[in-house]
Symmetry: C2
Subunit: 501 residues, 2 copies
C-alpha cells in the first residue's frame, strides 16, 4: 500500500477532505508573536513537516513565536526554528545545539520548568493563550480523536487549549502505536479529582486525545521519521555506577525495606540510565515495573525477556537499532506498555503513591547533597531540569548518579558548593558514583559531607574536599561553609582549566 493510501486510511475523520493541506499551507496558520504548542518529548513524536515549512517561510524574515513542547525534540523542530529566528521564547526543556547556544547568548528566552507543571500552568492561564497546537498523530478517529505517535508529552493540553490544531499524520510511524496511549486530563482546582492510578499499568483515560473536529484547522501528511539517536556502548564508569547502584538496591531488599521485585523504577534518559537498566537483566525477579518518562532500548529488552512486567512512560525513545527491532512488534507489548501525558507520568501524586525508585543523573553534587542538574560555567545551561524534580521530590527513594570526575580529572563532580542548585539537600537520599554509594538518609549535613567525600569523590580530590570540610567545620554552623571559598573550585576551573589547586 502506498504511503498516500496509508495516510487516507489513518485519517478516519468524517469530512476531512477540506482540512487536508500541504505543510506550507498549514504553516501559514502560524504568525509572528503567537504561542505554539508542539507535541514531542525527547526526539519522539514531534511534528516535522510543518516546522520545516515554517522555517522555509521564515528564511530571511524570521517569524518569532513562543514555542512550547513536551521536552526536547528533533532538529526538524528545535534546530530549524532556532536557526531561522523563529523562536522568541522556549518552554520547558531542550537539548538542541543551536537552540542551546542562542539561549546561552541571550538571543532566545528560555524558562526551565518542572515537566509535570507545564500543562496545569497553561490551563491556569499563567502563560497566556495557546494559539496553535501542532501535533504529530498516528491517526485521527472518526470524531476527531488524535492518536499520538511515539510520545504524548504536553500534546493533550495543547490540543485542549489551542484555538487551532494542526495534525501531522505521520505514516512513517508504526501502526502498532494505536492503543498504547492513555490520555487523562485533570480538571482545574477546585474541581480536580484524585488521579485513579494505583499501579503502573492502570489505564484511566482514552486511547486518543479528544479534539473537536471544528478545531482541526489542517491535516498534513508527514513521512519523516523520528530523529532517533544511537546509544553509546556502556562505558566502564557507567557500568561501575550501575553495579554500585544494584548492590545498594540488593541490600535494601535484604534489609526488608524493598520487595525483590522492587518498586516502580524511574530512570532518566541517556547512557548512565541505560547502563543501570541493562544491569537489571540479571536481577533475580521477573516482576519489575517501570513508571518513568522515557522508554529506551533497555526497557524494551527487559520487557521482551519478561523481566519487566509493565512499563509506563510518556515517550518511546529507542535507538535506531531498537526501533528497527521493537517498533514492528509494538502490538505484542500493547498490554504491557502505556504512554501517558507528562503531567501524569511525572505527577507528584502518582509518584508518591506508587513509591518510585527515582534514578537521575547529576551535573555535579556538593558535599551536603545539593544537586546541580542544569548549569555549567556560571549559568550556561546544558539541557534543563526536565522531570528530575518531579521524581526526586516525590519518590520512595531519590538517587542521583554521576561520574566522580570529568575532563580527564580536571573537573570534580563532587564540589564544596554547587554552582547552581536544582535539587536541595532535603530531596537527595542517595548519591552514586563509580567509586561508591553515599546513603544520606537519616544523616545530618556534617555526617553527609564525610560520607559523600569518602564514598563518592575521586581519590585525587578527596584531600582537597576534606580540607575544605574541616576548615569549614572549624567555623561552626549546621552546614558549615566558607563562603569566600565555596565557589572557588569553579572559579579556578574557569581561570586555569582545572579545579585542582
Amino acid at each position: 500500500m502506498s504511503n498516500e493510501n496509508v495516510f487516507q486510511q489513518r485519517v478516519r475523520l468524517a469530512n476531512a477532505e477540506g482540512k487536508i493541506k500541504t505543510p506550507d499551507e498549514a504553516a501559514k496558520l502560524i504568525e509572528k508573536g503567537m504561542t505554539v504548542g508542539c507535541s514531542g518529548f525527547t526526539p519522539s513524536g514531534y511534528p516535522k513537516a510543518v516546522p520545516q515549512a515554517l522555517a522555509r517561510r521564515a528564511a530571511g524574515s524570521p517569524i518569532p513565536v513562543t514555542l512550547w513542547t513536551g521536552a526536547s525534540t528533533g532538529p526538524e523542530l528545535d534546530g530549524e526554528l532556532a536557526k531561522t529566528g523563529c523562536v522568541y521564547k522556549r518552554f520547558p526543556y531542550q537539548t538542541d545545539d543551536t537552540l542551546r547556544k542562542k539561549i546561552n547568548s541571550g538571543e532566545i528566552l528560555f524558562a526551565d520548568l518542572h515537566l509535570s507543571h507545564n500543562a496545569q500552568n497553561l490551563r491556569y492561564g499563567f502563560h497566556g493563550d495557546v494559539d496553535v497546537a501542532v501535533v504529530e498523530a498516528a491517526a485521527i478517529t472518526e470524531d476527531g480523536g488524535i492518536i499520538p505517535t511515539t510520545s504524548v508529552g504536553n500534546a493533550p493540553a495543547f490540543v485542549e487549549l489551542a484555538k487551532k490544531v494542526i495534525v501531522e499524520v505521520n505514516t512513517a510511524q508504526p501502526s502498532g502505536l494505536e492503543g498504547l496511549h492513555d490520555i487523562y486530563l485533570p480538571k482545574n482546582p477546585p474541581n480536580r479529582q484524585p488521579i485513579p492510578i494505583t499501579a503502573p499499568g492502570d489505564r484511566i483515560g482514552t486511547p486518543y486525545i479528544p479534539c473537536s473536529p471544528q478545531k482541526i484547522a489542517a491535516i498534513v501528511h508527514s513521512e519523516v521519521k523520528d530523529n532517533q539517536r544511537p546509544l553509546a556502548e556502556v562505558d566502564e564508569t557507567s557500568h561501575r555506577m550501575a553495579l554500585n547502584l544494584l548492590d545498594f538496591l540488593d541490600v535494601e531488599v535484604k534489609s526488608g525495606r524493598l520487595p525483590r521485585s522492587l518498586l516502580p523504577l524511574q530512570s532518566g534518559v541517556g547512557n548512565i540510565a541505560n547502563a543501570v537498566l541493562k544491569g537489571l537483566a540479571e536481577w533475580p525477579s521477573d516482576g519489575l515495573t517501570v513508571y518513568t518518562e522515557v522508554i529506551q532500548d533497555a526497557v524494551f529488552e527487559l520487557l521482551d525477556k519478561g523481566k519487566i512486567r509493565f512499563a509506563s512512560s510518556t515517550a518511546l525513545t529507542p535507538s535506531p537499532d531498537g526501533a528497527a527491532k521493537y517498533y514492528p512488534r509494538l502490538k505484542e507489548f500493547a498490554d504491557r506498555v502505556v504512554l501517558r501525558p507528562q503531567e501524569i507520568s511525572n505527577n507528584p501524586e502518582v509518584i508518591r503513591r506508587l513509591g518510585l525508585i527515582a534514578m537521575n543523573t547529576a551535573v555535579e553534587v556538593d558535599i551536603y547533597g545539593h544537586v546541580n542538574s542544569t548549569m555549567v560555567r556560571g549559568g550556561h545551561i546544558l539541557n534543563g531540569i526536565g522531570g528530575s524534580g518531579d521524581f526526586a521530590r516525590n519518590a520512595w527513594l531519590t538517587i542521583f548518579l554521576c561520574p566522580a570526575i570529568a575532563s580527564g580529572g580536571k573537573i570534580s563532580k563532587v564540589v564544596p558548593f554547587c554552582s547552581h542548585i536544582d535539587h536541595t539537600e532535603h530531596d537527595t537520599d542517595v548519591i552514586v558514583t563509580e567509586h561508591g554509594v553515599a546513603d544520606l538518609r537519616n544523616l545530618s549535613p556534617r555526617e553527609r559531607s564525610s560520607v559523600i567525600i569518602e564514598k563518592c569523590a575521586d581519590p585525587q580530590y578527596k584531600e582537597m574536599l576534606n580540607d575544605y570540610r574541616k576548615r569549614a567545620e572549624s567555623g561552626k554552623g549546621h552546614e558549615p561553609h566558607i563562603l569566600s571559598e565555596a565557589l572557588s573550585w569553579h572559579v579556578r576551573l574557569e581561570k586555569n582549566g582545572s579545579m585542582k589547586s
Copy 2:
C-alpha cells in the same frame, strides 16, 4: 471538678489503672540511645511532663536520644532536653534557642526535612525503629484511641510505629478539642490508595489515633499549658507586604484566573503570615478556605467573622490572648476546623489537587528566584525548611514574602546568589517585599532578574544589584553569574558587618 477528676474522666480506657504512672516513672521507659517520637507541632500539643522528668533524671548524667517531633515544640521539651544533653540527634524542625545553638556548634546532629516526608520515611524504615512515642492527649477512648490536643503532627505515625507509647493526658487542654481531629494513615507502596480529600473540609479518618491498648505503657497526668507566644503587632513593613500581596491577588481575580473566594490559602507561621491573613478581613468574599499547617489568631478571627468558611491544619497555635478567646469556644468551630496529620496537611497530592495559594517567608531571595529559607552566615541554621517545600512545589501559586532589607539596611534580602538554597527558581512564582511584587511566571532568568530588582529590591541596593546583573550578562549564559562575586555580598557582610560595598 478537680483536675484529678477531669483526668479520670478523660482516661476512658478499660483497665487503665495499672498504666497510670507519674512522669518520673514514665520517663524511665526512655533509655540512652533510643529513638523517641513526640507529638507537637509549633509550641502546641507537645508532651511536657515526661520530657521534664527525663531532663531531671538526666541532670549530671545525660541520656542522649534521637528525638523526633512534628515540628518545633516548647521549652519543656526541646529546651530542657537540649540543655541536659538528652538530644543526640533531632528531626525534623526546631525553633528553640538552646537547641539551635547546639546544632550550629555541632554538638547536636540535626536533619532538616520536608515535613510531609517524615511519617512515610519512618514507615519505610529509613530511620530505624521508633522505640517510644510520647504523645499529649486530650483523652483516651475506651479501646485505646488517643485523642490529640492542639496539634496532630507526626503523632499518628509515632504511635503506629513505636514499641511503647506514653500518653500524657493534659487536663489543661480544652475539652472542646475532641472531634476536631481527622486521623488518616496512608499505607506503604505498593498498597497506597488515593487520599480522598477533594475539599479542605473533607473528613476521611477517625477523630482519634488508633492504638492497641497493649502498646500503651504509661498514662501520665499533665496540667502544663502549651507555651503560647504573643504575636507582635503588625509592623509597617509587614503591613505593606500584605497590601502588595492582596493587590496582586485582586488582579488575579479580575483577570479571571482566580474566583473571588480564591483557592485554599496556605500561610507560614509568624508575623508576616499574620499580617497577610489579617489583611483578608476586608476581602470582598465570605467563601475563603484555608488548607495549611498552623491556625493562628487571624484565622480564628476570620472564621469567627464568617470570612473563612473552613480551615484545615495540623496545629492550632494561637497567642495567649487568642487561646483565651477562642479555646473555650472550640465546639462552635467543630464543623469548620479540622486538624490532620502533617503528612496529610502537607501532602503534595492534596496540595496540588486543591490548588493552594502558598505564602511563605524567605530568609533571602536571589535575582533569579532561588530562595533561602533556612541559613545565615555560611550554614548557620535558623529554624528549618518546615513545610515550605511541600507547599511551594505543589501549590497553584507559590509566593515568597520577605522584607527587602534587614539590620537597618546592612543586609539586602535580595542578593545576587543565595548563600543557601531551599527552593529553586523552578518553584518560585511570585516574590513580595514591602516595595512591590515580582510576578515571575512565564519569565526567563534574565527577565526575572530585571523584575525582581525593579519591584522587590530596596532602593539602596538596586544600583549594586543592577551592576552585578549587567556585568554577569555581559559574560553570557542562560542565568548569568560571576561566580567569583556571586557570594561576595555575604562575605562582605561577615567581614564588614554590611553588604554595602
